[in-house]
Every structure is written in structure tokens, then in C-alpha cells.
């Protein structure tokens, strides 16, 4: 065995030889770590996310699951799901789990609102620092404050997600066993969609800002313009300045939101207002009502009808608790959207702000070339140099790692390292036994059922029912969304809340990786557009502009002009 020194993420760099001995299957976290991550982001995610999962598993005494072990390889995050295989241990953990979930069933909203306040409080404290005037001492303390905030964020993240997802998993299981429907069935999906959430509310605020601009006669400043030119143009006129004031008010509250959910290299809204401006421009170009309001009336009506029809099948003595369970399960979709906003998107905007501040200090001292180079250092290295940066030159590290990182962007990471025979076997033996609702419904997802009789080009897991046909639009990153035309079928690896507005323009979606509760699945259902998930090869097999048909009821994709 060759003993390697750790490099990018000390303690967490993947070593096939050692790590495969420790655990048989390591799944690439495609939902989060594609495209590949910078070392600084990976350092935080690998520690924070695995700590959050392990601590929630311990605190909630999850019966068959102790959290995840994460490793970093070529920018990808690999997940080992720590399943408990000893039945005796599972039995011992179960009663505690039962009691730990009780408060969530009784008052989920209360618990989430308490945690949300805690998080926003942490964030407010971090905003207080003036990074460019801070001493090196204050900067290093800010780094530690960010670190502590980030660990806590991950604890809360899983403490709210696990109970809500457990309710979904249970409700689905119950529906399967007693009524023959799963979360791939339209009847099930109809009952669970059409709830408002904070992400939609923010999008609606953007739409209203657009309407305001239009009422103030400013629409021309947005239409067919480079989004970056819009703010300078508006500054030229009195009504423009008036509108910008309102827009700034909005940004101060809602602008702490990363454009890309799981990285630090892209800006947040407050830093790059052209991003929300482009969303507003999109709404103005489309005209009409806020798109969700257009669809939601029908979807909410369908939902209530579906619930009524379902409840008729439920025996009288079971109605009360099954309805209570359904209400909790319905929160899984809502919390999945809202937690992205309050956990990852907000906290990481503050991280980006803080580390760019540190990066500027290091540039000033000549330690690195560009503030963004800080993303190619890990905190061990930052801590080594930050108090007296002027005597250090870390460019030998940042230049090398930047090059490596650029190279990783050009090729996909393997989806799995395993000693098992196949992906199916790895999922069956090293994921499903955990009964981890997060891993099953979000992180890795369920495996598609291949049905040769359907003669489809690609198979996936049905996640939003219906059939749609149109030109394929491959989008691997946020910038790619600029190409999207009304009526396209979007083909993605995954999406995050920053992408939500585009769902108002597309007719269907093909998603390479994730479970039925991940962002694109939830949003596709809320917008009532057909979707298929865990297609694995959508973005590689389908070409831009090719005509495709997505069947979100069967879980199939057909390429129509080959």
C-alpha cells in the first residue's frame, strides 16, 4: 500500500484502497457535487454535511442508519451510507427514535420556525463585520465563526429534514401496502403538491417587482437587454432610481442567496443583482400572471379532490391519523424547498462573502494572485498564513489546484466505487438497508425499472406524471438556462431553488440524478409538468435541440429524431 499525504481536503481525500476496505460502496453525490467542487467548498461540505447527518442520526436515534461518511475525489463527493446491519442494535435504537420524532409530529412548523430563527440570528451576527477594515485577527475569528455557523447549520438541516422525509416515506409505504399507490403514482403526487413555500414567495416578489417596473414605464430597460446593463440604465432616471430603491430593499432581505447552490465560486444575488434582474426580465418578457398562480389554482383544486377521493378509501377508524400523517408528509416538499434557502443558500452566501474578504487580504499581501484563489486553499492552509500573510506565497498550491480543478470540469466522475457487482446491487445492499429517508428520497434515489416492452431510449423513476414532447434543452449550470425557450424539455443533472423560475417556461424535465423528493421533482410537480428522475444518462445521451418525449407517468424518455 502506498501511503499518500492528504492534499485537498485533509482527512477526507478518497483513497480507493483504504476506503473500499472500510465500506463496500461509495456513491458519487451527483445531486450536489456535479460539476466538481473547489477544495475549500469541499472541505466545508464534507465535514459539515457528514457531521450533520451523523449528529441527526444520533440525536434522532435513526434505527438503521448512523449517518454518512464522505470522501473527496477529483472534485466529486463520494457517499458511504453507514447502515446498521445488526438487528439487535436496530431494535435498541428504535424506541428512542419513536420518541425523538414525537415533537415533530405534534408541531413540525413550530420546530422549523424555531430553528429558522436560530439560523437567521447566526447569519445576522456574521454580517456585522466590515471585511476590508477588519484586522487579520478579526478575519481569522470570522473564519472560525463561519465554521461554527456552518456546522450548526448542518445539524439543523438534518434535524428538520429527516422527520419530514420519514413521514413521506411512511405515507408512501402505507399507500403502497394498503391502497396500491406509491409516490410514482399520479394519485399520490396530486395529493402532495401545490403548497406555497418561501422560494415561491421570493419568486413572486420578483414578479411583482417586474409588474411595478412595468407600471412605472420601465419595462423597456429590461427587455432584450444585457442584465448587467439594466441597473446602470435605471440609475439614469428618477423612476428608475425609485424602482432600484425598492429592488435594493428586496435584495437586502432576500439577496443572500447563492446562484449555484453547492459551491462558493459563483456569486450571490446581493453581490450580482443582474441574476435576479434577468429573472425579472424573463417575467416581463412572458407577460401575464405570475406563472405559479396560473397553474396553482388548478393544481390545488386537483389536490383537494385527490385527497377527498383518497380519504374515502380510508376506513373511518384510521382517518384521523392517516390525515395527520399526510399533512406531515406534505411538508416534506415544502421543507425541501425552504431549507435550501435558509440552510445552504443563505449560509454559503455568507461564506463566499467572508472567504472573498480573506482572499482580498491574501492578495494584498501577495500570498495569492486573485481573491477567488482562496477557494483553492483549505482552512488548514488559510489558518497557517492569515495572521502574517505577507511572508507566505501559496501560489504553488492555488495554481496547481486551479489547473486540476479546471481539468475535472472537462470529464465526469465515476458514479460509484464499489466492491459490489453493480449499481443496483450497491443500492440494494449498501443504501436501502439504512432506510434513510434522505438517501432514498433525495441523495441517491431509487433505481429505475427497465421495461423493455415500452421500447424507451432512457428509463428513469417517474416523479411527476403526464406526457410532454418538445425540443431538448441541456442545462448543466445556471448560465445554460439563458438558452431555454418556452416549451422546451429541460434536461439536467439536477437543479436548485435558483432555477425555479425556469420551470414556468418548460414543458417537461429529464433529471439524471436524485430521488422523488429532490428539488426538480418537487418543483415539476408543483408546476404540473411531467418529469422523470434518476435517468442517469439524460445529459450525455440526449443532444441539445433534439426532439424528445418525456413520460412522467411511466418513467420513460423517447428520443424522437435520432
Amino acid at each position: 500500500m502506498t501511503e499518500k499525504l492528504w492534499d485537498h481536503v485533509p482527512g477526507f481525500d478518497f483513497d480507493e484502497e483504504i476506503d473500499l476496505k472500510e465500506w463496500p460502496s461509495w456513491f458519487l453525490d451527483v445531486s450536489h457535487s456535479v460539476p466538481p467542487w473547489t477544495p475549500l467548498y469541499a472541505w466545508f461540505w464534507l465535514r459539515g454535511c457528514s457531521h450533520g447527518q451523523k449528529s441527526a442520526a444520533a440525536q434522532l436515534s435513526q434505527p438503521a442508519y448512523k449517518g454518512t461518511e464522505l470522501r473527496y475525489k477529483d472534485g466529486g463527493s463520494y457517499i458511504a451510507i453507514i447502515c446498521i446491519r445488526d438487528e439487535e442494535e436496530i431494535k435498541q435504537r428504535t424506541p428512542k427514535h419513536r420518541e425523538a420524532l414525537r415533537p415533530y409530529i405534534e408541531d413540525f412548523d413550530g420546530i422549523w420556525s424555531k430553528y429558522r430563527e436560530e439560523l437567521v440570528g447566526l447569519y445576522e451576527n456574521l454580517k456585522a463585520i466590515n471585511l476590508d477594515e477588519a484586522t487579520n485577527y478579526e478575519l481569522i475569528h470570522h473564519h472560525w465563526d463561519l465554521t461554527a455557523m456552518y456546522w450548526r447549520m448542518w445539524e439543523i438541516h438534518f434535524l428538520v429534514l429527516v422527520p419530514a422525509f420519514s413521514a413521506w416515506l411512511l405515507f408512501e409505504d402505507l399507500c403502497k401496502a394498503r391502497f396500491g399507490i406509491s409516490d410514482k403514482s399520479p394519485e399520490f403526487q396530486k395529493m402532495m403538491r401545490g403548497f406555497d413555500n418561501k422560494v415561491y414567495q421570493v419568486d413572486r416578489q420578483l414578479w411583482e417587482l417586474g409588474r411595478l417596473a412595468s407600471e412605472m414605464g420601465l419595462a423597456d430597460n429590461f427587455l432584450d437587454k444585457d442584465p448587467k446593463s439594466v441597473v446602470p440604465m435605471l440609475e439614469q432616471s428618477e423612476p428608475g432610481r425609485e424602482w432600484l430603491e425598492k429592488f435594493q430593499e428586496f435584495l437586502n432581505v432576500e439577496g443572500w442567496r447563492m446562484v449555484r447552490m453547492n459551491e462558493l465560486v459563483d456569486p450571490y444575488w446581493l453581490e450580482e443583482p443582474s441574476v435576479p434582474i434577468s429573472i425579472i426580465a424573463g417575467y416581463l418578457a412572458k407577460g401575464g400572471k405570475f406563472v405559479l398562480d396560473e397553474v396553482s389554482e388548478k393544481i390545488v383544486k386537483e389536490r383537494e379532490e385527490a385527497i377527498e377521493a383518497f380519504m374515502e378509501k380510508v376506513p373511518a377508524e384510521d382517518k384521523e391519523w392517516i390525515l395527520a400523517l399526510m399533512r406531515l408528509a406534505q411538508k416534506a416538499g415544502v421543507i425541501n424547498e425552504e431549507h435550501d434557502l435558509y440552510c445552504e443558500l443563505y449560509s454559503q452566501a455568507l461564506m463566499r462573502r467572508g472567504y472573498l474578504g480573506i482572499g482580498r487580504r491574501l492578495v494584498k499581501a501577495g500570498t495569492i494572485d486573485r481573491p477567488e484563489d482562496v477557494f483553492f486553499l483549505n482552512p488548514e492552509e488559510i489558518e497557517r498564513v492569515l495572521m502574517v500573510p505577507e511572508i507566505h506565497d501559496l501560489r504553488y498550491i492555488t495554481n496547481r489546484r486551479r489547473k486540476e480543478w479546471e481539468e475535472w470540469q472537462t470529464r465526469p466522475n465515476p458514479p460509484l466505487f464499489t466492491t459490489r457487482a453493480s449499481m443496483e446491487e450497491a443500492v440494494g445492499m449498501d443504501l436501502m438497508p439504512s432506510r434513510s429517508p434522505i438517501m432514498i428520497k433525495l441523495g441517491v434515489g431509487e433505481m429505475p425499472e427497465i421495461r423493455p416492452e415500452l421500447k424507451a431510449d432512457l428509463y428513469g423513476v417517474p416523479c411527476s406524471s403526464g406526457v410532454a414532447e418538445g425540443p431538448a434543452r441541456i442545462a448543466l449550470c445556471y448560465e445554460d438556462l439563458a438558452k431555454v425557450q418556452d416549451g422546451d424539455i429541460l434536461v439536467v443533472v439536477t437543479t436548485n431553488p435558483a432555477w425555479t423560475p425556469v420551470f414556468g417556461r418548460i414543458k417537461g424535465i429529464v433529471i439524471d440524478r436524485g430521488g422523488t423528493l429532490c428539488h426538480p421533482a418537487v418543483v415539476a410537480r408543483d408546476f404540473g409538468i411531467p418529469g422523470v428522475i434518476n435517468v442517469f444518462e439524460g445529459t450525455t445521451k440526449i443532444k441539445d435541440n433534439q426532439r424528445i418525449r418525456v413520460n412522467g407517468t411511466e418513467g420513460t424518455v423517447y428520443i424522437l429524431d435520432k
Partner: protein, 344 residues
């Protein structure tokens, strides 16, 4: 000489092994002040004397010994064993002293009530509860018939089903010596049951009544649609009522009882009045309190008497299902989660 026959009022729970459970229970009911039809009970010892003195005991033992190992044998053999032993018992003449003693009690009962050759039921009473396993004879009139039915009840310890049950459980084939309860038949206009707990959901806030025209057998067997009532245990208010389509009920026939058609106008009419429902519920509630556990009770309304003297209680026993408080939804969800997702 030891006492082989007891009036119900002489009995209590300590007599379980003397006269069988059902008889001891009727004694308890009398002691609690429940109106029970008057009657008497034959002890297990009377049966033992009968089989010893008639030679039936020896004959049965010999027969069983000759059969050898029975475990794992088929149902046709159990049929044959049952029939043989039942014949051995039924062919024997009752010894005169047993005959005389039963006659004396029967005649005294008829005299007390004032009806000669009064109709009684002849009911099996084992020391263990084996619901529905042994025979009961209804509408038995006159001493000759009573004596005949007593032997038949004793012999019913050897129905094929009872034989199979004992063999499969590893009990001796010769077992289940039976006491016999002989109460006056209630000339029932309507009969039914009262549960002081919902045996399915465990809800103990209501009393559940089910009722049909005629004899209790028309309800207990659950074969026909019946009337159902839910009575609040706290304030004895009638909550839900369901008037069943009562197409059939059990009535007396010349020598026993049998199913009969219910007349069209009675079919959709409730077979008991609100007054009766409330009185039955009141008594059931008080019995549950005295006996300190939920009860499954049988009652009948005698058409020859007027309310409330018309209500008779035939049996009460603890409800078999475990009593569970109705669960709050949270507990139910947690239970389901543990069972379904974690299979524990």
C-alpha cells in the same frame, strides 16, 4: 352425601371446578344482583359418578388405550372416536339417584315459577372457557327430555372438534368433564349482547349493543344482520343507531329452537326500545365496574313480563381482546413508522 346439584344463588367463583365456569359465573351474576333466569347446576362430580357407576369410564378408557398413539392422526379418526365415545355415554341409563335428584330440582323449579313442564335450556359448562365447542339445548320441556339432554351435553365433550382440539394440544383424549347449567328459558321477544368496550378499536368510552328478535342465538352467531346501538358510557345517551334488515331470527320450535323468517313489518323495526337500551347499558356499565374489567354480556327480554323486570342476563365474561385506549394520531403514526419502515 356430597351435594351434586346447586341452585344458581348458591354458587360463586370458588365453584368453578365444582360446576364449571358458566354455572359459577351465573352464581356470581346472581350475587351481583343481575336478574338471571332461575335455575340450577349439575356438578362435574355428578358426571364422574355417572360414568363410573354405569361402566362408561372403563369402556372409554379401554377403547382409547387400544387406539395407541393419536397425535398426527387425521380428522376421520377423530370423527370416529367422537362418535364411539358419545354413543358409550348416551347409551347408558342414568343411575336412579342421579335421575331422582335432577327430577327433584326440576320440579321444584317448575313449582317456584308456577309452570309445569317448564321450558329450560340445558347448557354445557366446562372448567375452561372453550366458546362454542360443546352443545347447548334450548327449549327443553319435561323431565324426560331434560335427562336426555343432560347426557347429550356430557357427550358433547366428545364432538370431533373437541376431540381434535385435545389431541392437537397434547391433552388426554378423555377430558373436558362438563358441568351443566339448567336455567328457565326466557320467552325472549328480543335478545342481544352488550360490549362495554369496542373489541376492535379498544374504545372503552361507549357501550356497544347488538340485538335481534327472538333468542340470543340469532345474535351471537352473527349470521344475520342485526340492530346495533352505541351508548355513551358516561351519560348513557344513545349515540349511533343502526337498524339492521333482520330477515331471520331464532325462535322456539316444538323440540328446540330454529331459525325463522322475520315478518316484513318487523324486519326494519328496532327490536328494543330506547328505554330498554338505556337500562341494558346501565346494568352493563355497573357490571363492568363491579367486575373491574370490560365485559361481553348476553341479555334477553322476556315478552311475558313488563319492563324492567323483563330484562334477563344470561352470561357475562371478560372481553377477550386487550383493552387499548384509543390512540392519539401521533402514537399511531409512530407505531406505524416503527412497524412499517423498520419492521419492528
Amino acid at each position: 352425601m356430597e351435594q351434586l346439584i346447586f341452585w344458581f344463588e348458591e354458587l360463586g367463583e370458588t365453584h368453578n371446578d365444582v360446576v364449571g365456569k358458566k354455572c359459577a359465573n351465573l352464581g356470581e351474576m346472581v350475587k351481583m344482583g343481575l336478574p338471571v333466569p332461575p335455575g340450577f347446576a349439575l356438578s362435574l362430580d355428578m358426571y364422574r359418578i355417572f360414568i363410573r357407576e354405569t361402566g362408561a369410564e372403563e369402556e372409554m378408557s379401554r377403547y382409547i388405550e387400544n387406539l395407541g398413539e393419536l397425535k398426527g392422526k387425521g380428522i376421520t379418526l377423530f370423527d370416529e372416536i367422537g362418535e364411539t365415545i358419545r354413543d358409550i355415554i348416551q347409551e347408558k341409563e342414568l343411575p336412579p339417584k342421579i335421575k331422582d335428584e335432577i327430577s327433584a330440582y326440576y320440579h321444584e323449579l317448575c313449582e317456584k315459577v308456577g309452570i309445569p313442564d317448564m321450558a329450560v335450556s340445558v347448557r354445557s359448562a366446562g372448567t375452561e372457557s372453550r366458546p362454542g365447542m360443546f352443545e347447548t339445548y334450548l327449549n327443553v320441556c319435561g323431565i324426560e327430555d331434560v335427562l336426555e339432554k343432560v347426557k347429550k351435553v356430557w357427550a358433547s365433550a366428545y364432538t370431533a372438534r373437541a376431540v381434535a382440539f385435545r389431541i392437537n394440544k397434547g391433552f388426554p383424549v378423555l377430558g373436558d368433564e362438563l358441568g351443566v347449567a339448567i336455567p328457565k328459558m326466557v320467552n325472549a321477544r328480543a335478545s342481544g349482547i352488550a360490549f362495554t368496550v369496542d373489541p376492535v378499536t379498544g374504545d372503552d368510552s361507549k357501550i356497544i349493543l347488538e340485538a335481534n328478535w327472538g333468542l340470543g342465538e340469532g345474535v351471537v352467531s352473527g349470521a344475520e344482520s342485526v340492530d346495533g346501538f352505541l351508548v355513551d358510557k358516561e351519560n348513557l345517551e344513545i349515540g349511533a343507531r343502526h337498524v339492521g334488515k333482520k330477515f331471520k331470527c331464532v325462535v322456539y320450535t316444538e323440540n328446540g329452537a330454529d331459525w325463522a323468517d322475520v315478518s316484513a313489518e318487523m324486519r326494519n323495526t328496532p327490536c328494543i326500545s330506547d328505554e330498554e337500551i338505556i337500562e341494558i347499558s346501565r346494568v352493563a356499565k355497573s357490571a363492568e365496574k363491579t367486575l373491574e374489567c370490560p365485559q361481553d354480556m348476553e341479555w334477553a327480554i322476556d315478552q311475558d313480563l313488563s319492563f324492567p323486570e323483563s330484562i334477563f342476563w344470561l352470561q357475562t365474561r371478560p372481553v377477550k381482546v386487550q383493552v387499548r385506549k384509543p390512540q392519539n394520531p401521533t402514537d399511531r403514526i409512530l407505531d406505524e413508522l416503527i412497524q412499517r419502515v423498520y419492521e419492528i
